[in-house]
Structure formats: structure tokens, C-alpha cells
Symmetry: C2
Subunit: 548 residues, 2 copies
């Protein structure tokens, strides 16, 4: 039968009687990983927080109760349930219990002020707010400012803050049915979470993600990081940040253990590695910096290799080299809230093992290639939407497409359309494509310094300054200049007890990089950071401008 | 805003402006894994077959050519392209190149006779048939018998069979464009493969699978087996069998190496482990049996642990124990062609490591729990569709549901409806649910022996007979009996040089199991097997009947 004959036939045999049904189709949702962990490994530890210890069976029961209690309050599909808490067990539970009720989880950055929280509660149309006691004061102010005024449920986080007569999280769970018949969403495209990006200007945007993407990125984390069964994973990365990069769901899939930590410090990390047998954690490069610069009394020799996934800003090569020398095995990933967290990984090649330590670290500081579950990654000219030359030099905007790209921005069709223009998600990050197909970030588009018509990557300048033995942390931004338009201005934190002058560092920089790239100005002092450890360059740009 | 207020609102904000587009949605298809392997690891070995060696870049180019050559012949979406070949590189290529053209891959069992092949070619409406030279003769007879009479393309497999003037596979590839612009299917539910089950009675049924399921099971293999990057995987399992359990796609995802073997033997397996550094393979339990019973001159000490995934029949506990003693690490899985290959895994628990070897092997001979990517697994009464007691004793039919269940049977709506009745896929396998939620197969429904009203699991009897030191291989079937209805009849192959009488084995059996379960009849000799190494119990049942 040829094509014409087939066209003449009433129906294509591959298209009849082979439809979806309950036997051969299920929506993709990361909630199934919790059910499986509780079924297969009911007695394995799920969540550990000081003396509080849960098994996967217990976590599943508590999530049933949470989902049931939410439904009893009339909450269900597409209702926003907000949470403000640090990395405590209730935060892990919220990642399952809230979507098990059909509702959408909105985790809120704990460092925001009352005004910003109020904006989010109103924009998200929050129907309920779970709040950890330590944040009660700012949250009550936020609720007072908000129009929505969601009811609160208070989580006792051990911070010692008094209850003020609010409903208690444990009592709320007790209301819920431990055998609640929860259901998967009817469509894998349904929203699972709403996360507001900490925009540096203007109001934050609400990133809406779905069950399908959360499932796939949970899988992607395990594949890209080659995670074994039952990892013992330390929460240093805030769980409120982009749903902890989907790791709550990855941990359920692998029946691992989430080791919670309310306050992250070098001493606490080293201690957890020893006492809780931690073997995996995720952290921003600034966390790595404070680990390698920790006081000797806070440090411990690693009892086993500890695998660290880092992202959030391109880690400086010297930071990677120093970590690896201590026995941490670094995997470098890249992503945004809009991509469910990491969506790009510096996939390692065996032949790089033979490189000198610095060359290896340089290789590792590249962002890399797509997660196996992402579809497309390109560096393009955003106006023509054509890929730049893969020469490792030509700058372009990093673009992504695929299943681990958000549904869009909540109630913001114009921002959504702009972000997806041309059928790709525009990251706003500037990078290059190397000849081997690995991308490397060079800057946020707004962070590029244009001096005398030349584009200078602030990251490249920072990378070199990090090699100075007395430098602990550095950030480079543009300083307005009447002659050059802009010049690089470096903000530098020196190592404890170190002393260095501006002239000395500028001279060293000129000896170590192209002269036009060397900072003309150096300011010493601590660097302002976001709650997720990102250096707040917009503040530094303001400072640099004020210097003029 | 409460529910009523929201209902009154024109639209739910989670349901507007957040639709699928090219940036945030891509169909799930395992073809993307090949593209990624070629992009990230272009120079790593993809396929090895004697002196023939390919890299992932080369394999990708050859698959482009294959897809392009097929399209130039007018073949595309929903056209069936059949292949008959053993585990040679062209078989790996067909798993990518055929679906890259949009066509559906139909791999045909190489052990079938001309009549059976002709039936499949006609039923599948094959538009083209790739045939490896060693099968040319039977295939030409089959084509002569068929109505469809698809054109042939001959693959030189090194078997020395002459070409007979047919188009050559390499020349066919040379016709194709190495830069062919292939496209993913427009829907992840599109058919990717059509595999005929080797039904023991009646005509075979054509199992249609889709891109989504193939993608998810490729991922599931890596997760369930905890595979590392770059496995060196030996093809002992026939690639024609259920698409090699989706491992062609898993290997691309992990940028591993497929080590091809046209003829499987104990000597060839041990040699490949040594010379090709093989660290993973899949095999039926009969392959394990011939490995442990191989001549000492064929064996080699394993240079490293070799991981073996086994399925196809429940392996006898003593076989597992013997393999592990040699350094093979066994993972036991279970599935059917209808479930893309393995969909259930005996997920291991650390506490079982402390068990005595025999108890460990017994634990491992259970089929287990769902793959992380499958949705449901149950043992049910097929008439009431209610789960049996999870007591490890009550027999029921094993049922599955989820994304790695086939679309259905090709052009067979009644068989499809029957297989999916009640919203579950009926496996036809009889098993029990243990209290810990692990299933264990007790028999194919037709293999259960009913003696004096008691159900006897033939597998349970086999398991015990395997413990006899002189027994190499055993299969137990029902023999009609005027008094008891049926009695167990054992077909036994003894170890080389061993001697044992029927009376001796029957007496030993009565000492080692419930008397009514012990075989009343023993027949010594080789066991008939399918091409995939499954013992053909239907033949033995005929023999047992003839004994009456």
C-alpha cells in the first residue's frame, strides 16, 4: 500500500484503538515519588532536623494530613498556599502536601521585607500562609499591609518565638486525615508552584511551574549528578529558592535523607557532614567561599568525599580548585527560577582529569550543556535569533527551550511573551558558545561593562582577581566614566588579617590581564548579598555611580 | 476571594496566558538522547562490533543517513519499517534512524520460521525490510509467502552469506543525507515501535509503543539500575526482543558503549568482559545458567564487578547465589513486551546484605516494586479487580498501569480491550503480594498446576529442584492425572557427567517440599527454548500430556 492508497483508506491503523486510558497513561507528577518512597522504603529516614527525625512512611502520612487539612479549609486546585520558613521539615512537607491537595505552593524568600511580602501575598492571591515562628513579626506586618490578608498557620521551628495565639501547624496536621484519598492532577500541565524572582528592579515576577516539569527536573537532577540511591543530602540551598532546585522531589525519588539546617554556617556544614553522614549538598559559590575560608577550628577533615552542586553565579576557578583540594567534588550547574533550577550542567569528560588543577577548574567553571531532560540550549543574537559563532568569544544571549522551562509569569502575559519571544526562553544572561558545544556565561546582560566601545565581561575580570592570594571575594561592576563611558570597578573583601592597597591591586591586575579590562577603581569592604548568597551587583553599581 | 467568588470570576489566573509554546514544551522522545550524546560526547565510542567501531558522532551521522534514505523512499510517519538482524551495529542504528524518519520500527524475532515472518510482514504492513545476511534465506521465503512483499535492504553482518544482488545497507545509507533535518514527532503519543509477542498459541499480537513511554523507560532503566555515565554494555539480550528493553535509548542517554555480539556463548561473554571492559549486561536466567555451568576453559576471573540485569523468568535462587559468588552483581527485574521491557525491579535494601547467601538470593528472586517511572503495580483477583491480601501466599493476577504500558495491540481492538479491562494491564502472570509490598511471580496463569484441588506454583517446585547439586536446569509443568486432575512433572537437564535416576530425584524432592508438590514424574534431557532463552513450557506440556 503506498501513500496515496493509505490516504484513500479511511483510517491509519496506528491511529485507531490505541488511545490513552487508565491502564496506559498517567500524568507525570513528582508526587508519585513520595508514594513510592513510602511504599518501598517506609522505614528509611526521610527528614532529619536536630532531634526531629522522620521516616518516609511518616512524611507521607504527615503530607496526607496536610493535604487533607487544606481541603477541609476549602482549598484545592489552583488555590495558592504560601509558605515562609527556612529549611525545616515543614518546608519539605509543603512540597508534597500542598500539591497533594491540588493547591499551588508559593514559597516566599525569608529575607524580604514586609512590603515585598505583602506584594507577593496579594499578587499570588494567597489563601493561606504557613509561617515559621522566626518570621512571624515581619509576616504579621506584611499581612497587615496586604489586601488579601490570608489566614496564618504557625510552624514551631525551635526559634523560641512565641505563638501569639495563632493556629499551630501540628494542630493543623492533626485536623487532617492520615488516610486522605489524594489524587494526582488531571493534567500534568497543572501548576505545582509559584515562585517570585527577586527582581533587582521593579516588582518581582511570579514564575509558574507545572507537575510535568517538576517531575522531569527531579529526574534530571539525579541523571545529571549521577546520584546514587539514598543520598544523605544537606539543605544549605534555601528550600524557598526555586523549590530547592526540585531536590525535595529528587530526594523522594531516590529515598534519600534531607538533613535540615535552619542556619547555614561553615561550622554547621562541617558538623553535619560528620554527624549526619552528609554526602551531597547544593550551594551558591559564596557558600563555597566561606567554607574554604572558614576558621580552622570550624573545619573538619572530610570523612568521605562530599559531592557539591553549585550554581547561582559562575564560581571562580580558584574557588573550585580550593574546594576540590579539600575533598569536595564539585559539579557545576546553571539555571534560573524560570527553568526549575538547574537545567545546564558542566558534563565532565574523563580526558579533563589529566589537566593541571587550574586548567581543570577553568574547564569546570563553564556552565556546559543541557540537562538530559531539557531540550535546547543556544547562545544567540537576541534580535536576529541566530546562534553566535561557537568560537568561545562571540557574546550572545543564552536561550533555552524544553520541558523544564516555566509555564510563564503569573498574571503577566506581556512579560511571558517577552521571555518566550521567538520560541525560546531568554535568560538575560550573556555568554559564549565554545567550539565543543559547551556554553560559558560572561555576564548578565546588564552586568557587561562597555569601556571605550569594548565589551568587558565582569566575570572574566573577577576570575583573574580571585587568583590574587589575599583576595577572598570580589565583584566587578561598571563605573560611569566621562572618557571611556564606563570602566571596571572592583569591590573586594580581603582575607582575614590581609592588607593590600588599591594601587597594589590595580598594578597586579594590569600585569595579569588586558590593560583595558583591569579595574581602574578598587573599593575594599564586605559585599552585599541576596538571601540566596548572590552578590547584589545592583547595589554595587549604585555605589560605583556615587563614587563619580 | 473564596471559591464562589472565583467561580464568578471570568477566568482562573492559573489558566490564562500560561499555555504550551515552542519555548516551554517539547515532546518526550528518546531520539533526543542520541542528539545529546553526539553533541556532548562526539568522540566517545558508541557501538563496537569486532573491528567495527563507531563514535556517537558517527552513529548520529549514520542515523541521519538512514532516516533520510527512508524518507527518499517515501517512508515516513506511521509507515512500518521491519528489521531482522542479530545484535549488530545496524540494529542499534535502526532504533534511532527509523523513528527519526517518522516511521515505526518493527524488529522481528530471528528464530521465527518463514510462515511466522510472513504473517508479521503482512499484519504490520511492512514497507521495507532491513535484513542481516545470515537470515536472508528464510526471509526470502517469507517474502515470497507474504502479500505485502516489502523491498529488502541487505545488511552485511560478516556471516559470509552472499548478497544475491540486493541493495546493500551501506549503499542505502550512502544515499541518505548526513545533515538530514529530522524532526521529533508532533505528539509524544506517536508510535515508535511495533513488536510481536511470541505467543505460544494463535497468531502473535503486535505491541505498539510510543515515544513518551520509550523515553520514560530509557530513564527508568538508568534510575532503577543506578547506572553510571558511560556504561560498557554487552548485548546478550536480543535487540529484537522488546527493543532490547529500551537499552539502545538508555545507552545514548548515558553516552555508553554498546558492545555487539552476533552469537552469544559463555566464552564470548567472558571474553568481552575482559577485552571490551564490559561492566553491564542483560540476560535471561538461562544465560546465567550456562554462564555458571560453562567449561572452566571458557571462564575467566572477572577483572571488575560486572552488573547483570536479569528477567524473562524468575531466576532460581541457587542460580542467583552462584552468579554472585563469581562476582556478578545481579539486579532482578520483571516486565513484558507490553511494558517496554522491565517495569518492576527488586529494589534492594541494605538490611538484606546481612542475610545468609541463600536468604539473600531468595529475597532477590522476588520481582519487587514498580520502576520509578511506572505508576501502578498490583496483584488482583481479575474478576473482582480487588487486590489480594498482601500475605505472600494468596495468588492473584499481576496488573500494571502507567506510562510504560503499551498503546495497545496493532489492529486488534478486542485483545487491547481485554488486556486493559478495568483500567489495568492484565499481565497474565500469577503472583503474590508480600507484606512489604514486593510482588513475587508464582506462574503464568496457564502454568499453575492444580493437583487434588490444590494450586501448585511450578516455579516454587523448580526453585527447590534447582538446589539439588546435580541439577543444571529444570522446568515443571502439569501432567494430566485421572486421580488428581494434574500432577507436577519435572523436565530436568543434569550437569555434565552427572547421573541420577528418576526415583532418586523424586525421593529427594519429597524430602525437600510438601509431598503434594513434589513431582511424580521426571524426564531427563535438554529443554526446548525460545530465541530469548525462555523455556518453552507449552512444548513440555505437550510432552507431559503424551506421557499419559
Amino acid at each position: 500500500m503506498n501513500k496515496m492508497e493509505r490516504a484513500a483508506r479511511a483510517v491509519d491503523p496506528y491511529e485507531i484503538g490505541l488511545d490513552r486510558n487508565d491502564a496506559n497513561f498517567a500524568v507525570l507528577s513528582p508526587l508519585v515519588f513520595l508514594a513510592r518512597a513510602a511504599h518501598v522504603y517506609p522505614d528509611r529516614p526521610s527528614v532529619v532536623y536536630g532531634d526531629e527525625r522522620y521516616t518516609w512512611r511518616e512524611t507521607y502520612t504527615r503530607c496526607h494530613r496536610l493535604a487533607s487539612a487544606l481541603q477541609r479549609r476549602g482549598l484545592g486546585r489552583n488555590d495558592t498556599v504560601s509558605v515562609i520558613a527556612s529549611n525545616i521539615p515543614a518546608m519539605m512537607e509543603a512540597h508534597f502536601g500542598v500539591p497533594m491537595s491540588g493547591a499551588v505552593l508559593n514559597t516566599i524568600n525569608t529575607r524580604l521585607d514586609a512590603e515585598a511580602i505583602a506584594f507577593i501575598l496579594d499578587h499570588a492571591e494567597a489563601k493561606l500562609l504557613l509561617v515559621a515562628a522566626e518570621f512571624l513579626e515581619v509576616v504579621q506586618r506584611a499581612v497587615a499591609l496586604s489586601v488579601t490578608k490570608p489566614p496564618l498557620v504557625l510552624i514551631d521551628d525551635g526559634s523560641g518565638v512565641e505563638n501569639r495565639g495563632l493556629p499551630d501547624y501540628e494542630a493543623f496536621l492533626a485536623e487532617g486525615d492520615p488516610a486522605f484519598a489524594w489524587a494526582l492532577p488531571d493534567d500534568e500541565w497543572r501548576a505545582i508552584a509559584l515562585s517570585y524572582t527577586s527582581g533587582t528592579t521593579g516588582n518581582p515576577k511570579g514564575v509558574v511551574t507545572h507537575h510535568r516539569g517538576a517531575y522531569l527536573n527531579a529526574v534530571g537532577n539525579a541523571l545529571a549528578w549521577q546520584m546514587p540511591a539514598h543520598p544523605r543530602y544537606l539543605w544549605t540551598l534555601p528550600l524557598f529558592h526555586c523549590n530547592g532546585w526540585c531536590f525535595p522531589w529528587t530526594l523522594a525519588m531516590l529515598a534519600g535523607t534531607a538533613v535540615c539546617l535552619r542556619r547555614v554556617s561553615a561550622a554547621a556544614i562541617y558538623e553535619a557532614i560528620e554527624t549526619e553522614a552528609v554526602d551531597h549538598f547544593c550551594a551558591a559559590p559564596t557558600v563555597l567561599t566561606f567554607l574554604i575560608n572558614a576558621k580552622p577550628t570550624d573545619k573538619r577533615t572530610l570523612p568521605r568525599p562530599v559531592r557539591v552542586m553549585t550554581a547561582g553565579a559562575p564560581p571562580a576557578a580558584p574557588v573550585i580548585a580550593a574546594m576540590e583540594a579539600e575533598g569536595f567534588a564539585i559539579t557545576h550547574v546553571y539555571g534560573l527560577t524560570e527553568t526549575y533550577g538547574p537545567a545546564v550542567v558542566c558534563a565532565w569528560k574523563e580526558e579533563w582529569d589529566a589537566f593541571e588543577p587550574e586548567a581543570r577548574a577553568r574547564q569546570k567553571s563553564r556552565q556546559g550543556v543541557t540537562y538530559p531532560v531539557q531540550h535546547g540550549l543556544a547562545v544567540m543574537d537576541p534580535t536576529t535569533m541566530t546562534p553566535v559563532e561557537p568560537d568561545g568569544e562571540t557574546l550572545g544571549e543564552v536561550m533555552m527551550r524544553g520541558n523544564i522551562v516555566m509555564k510563564g509569569y503569573f498574571k503577566n502575559p506581556s512579560a511571558t511573551a517577552e521571555a518566550f519571544s521567538g520560541g525560546w526562553f531568554h535568560t538575560g544572561d550573556i555568554g559564549v558558545m565554545h567550539p565543543d558545544g559547551y556554553i560559558q556565561l560572561k555576564d548578565r546582560s546588564k552586568d557587561v561593562i562597555i569601556s571605550g566601545g569594548e565589551n568587558i565581561s565582569s566575570i572574566e575580570v573577577e576570575d583573574i582577581l580571585y587568583r590574587h592570594p589575599l583576595v577572598q571575594e570580589v565583584a566587578v561592576v561598571a563605573r560611569p566614566d566621562t572618557t571611556w563611558g564606563e570602566t571596571p570597578c572592583a569591590f573586594v573583601t580581603l582575607k582575614e588579617g590581609a592588607s593590600l592597597t588599591e594601587a597594589e591591586l590595580v598594578a597586579w591586575a594590569r600585569d595579569n590581564m588586558a590593560r583595558f579590562k583591569a579595574p581602574k577603581t578598587v573599593v575594599f569592604g564586605p559585599l552585599p548579598k541576596t538571601s540566596t548568597g548572590k552578590i547584589q551587583k545592583f547595589q554595587l553599581r549604585e555605589q560605583a555611580k556615587a563614587l563619580t
